[in-house]
């Protein structure tokens, strides 16, 4: 069979009424997919904003108030790191994993686990430890999204920073969160925490 007639045969098949129906289904499916995917991603991005995070008073009255005093909230040049910049990974698969894990936090909010300041401070050590572990496990990925070690200019850093960064950090022995705990929020009781 020649190549020409083979194409003709396929074209004949595609023109038949039954396959036309298939086309419609495919087109609808494609359009539906685009709408669903776009909607899903838009909704996902809405949950990735500072406004969304502090729409619960647990966040607004506790961690957000503390964060407002720190350099990641306000500084000389106005470059900011908001909640999701540190607490949600940027890469899509990691982000989805984190978002699914965060469904536990929705449960905590519904059951009022930390709905008063007292309850919050009571749980603070456990909450902080979970976040320290997450950052330790991913080698402080969220810090490094902005603070890239490759481009750190040691000549611009203070003596103390140079010593620590060129030693423990450069060798990979330590990661950002090992030393930089409590930079955006207050700390829990640090008894027994390594290096404290």
């Amino acid at each position: 069979m020649s190549q020409q007639s083979k194409f003709k045969q396929i074209w004949q098949y595609l023109k038949s009424p039954s396959s036309a129906a298939l086309w419609v289904i495919l087109a609808l499916g494609f359009a539906g997919g685009v709408i669903f995917w776009g909607g899903f991603n838009t909704a996902l991005e809405i949950t990735n904003t500072e406004e969304f995070c502090i729409s619960c008073h647990e966040m607004e009255d506790n961690v957000y108030e503390e964060y407002k005093e720190t350099i990641h909230y306000a500084n000389r040049s106005g470059v900011r790191a908001t909640c999701p910049d540190c607490h949600v990974p940027k890469k899509w698969t990691h982000k989805i994993v984190r978002k699914i894990a965060a469904s536990k936090e929705v449960w905590g909010m519904l059951t009022g686990m930390i709905d008063t300041r007292e309850k919050f401070t009571e749980h603070r050590r456990a909450l902080a430890e979970r976040e320290w572990k997450r950052m330790k496990d991913n080698d402080s990925l969220e810090c490094r999204n902005c603070h890239n070690f490759e481009y750190m200019d040691f000549s611009e850093q203070g003596n103390r920073s140079v010593k620590m960064h060129s030693d423990a950090l450069a060798s990979g022995e330590k990661t950002c969160i090992d030393c930089h705990k409590g930079i955006a929020h207050q700390l829990p009781d640090m008894k027994g925490v390594e290096n404290w």
Partner: protein, 152 residues
């Protein structure tokens, strides 16, 4: 006639009241070495001074002077939960970080008992140790440290 007297009295009284209101109030305005300050308005605060970012230890001026802090301490919390200073100046970490070790006198209670860690009365570092900024002194000072302390 009666009406005229009443009108004149009212006018006179209102003038008296008005002229009394013109009496100036003493606002205690004084020219101080920090600038003029008066009671009826809040003086504009001076801009923040830039704290020394990071330097080697600064020599003491007199015996028993708490050494001053030659680096920034912004955001370093000292409270019941944590003490950021001690994560470098504590004996456990001083060798690793190259920081000055906290003096052993800080382990003593006011009764002279030596504890195994920093005593609560010496725990709040910034009560005595302060950061420094390079500024012009408000009052001229000719104080000179004793010879024995000049090279710390």
């Amino acid at each position: 006639m009666k009406l005229l007297i009443i009108i004149v009295t009212i006018l006179g009284l209102s003038f008296a009241v008005l002229s009394q209101e013109k009496v100036t109030v003493n606002t205690g305005s004084l020219d101080t070495i920090r600038g003029a300050a008066s009671l009826d308005e809040t003086r504009k605060a001076d801009p923040f001074k830039r704290v020394i970012k990071d330097k080697n230890p600064i020599a003491r001026n007199y015996v028993h002077q708490p050494p001053v802090i030659p680096h920034q301490t912004r955001g370093y919390r000292i409270d019941l939960n944590s003490n950021k200073c001690l994560t470098c100046h504590g004996w456990k970490y001083a060798a690793e970080t190259g920081a000055t070790k906290v003096s052993l006198t800080h382990f003593e209670t006011r009764d002279g008992k030596v504890l195994s860690d920093v005593s609560p009365r010496r725990y709040f570092c910034s009560q005595c140790h302060v950061t420094q900024a390079d500024v012009r002194p408000l009052v001229e000072n000719t104080f000179k440290p004793v010879e024995s302390l000049t090279n710390n």
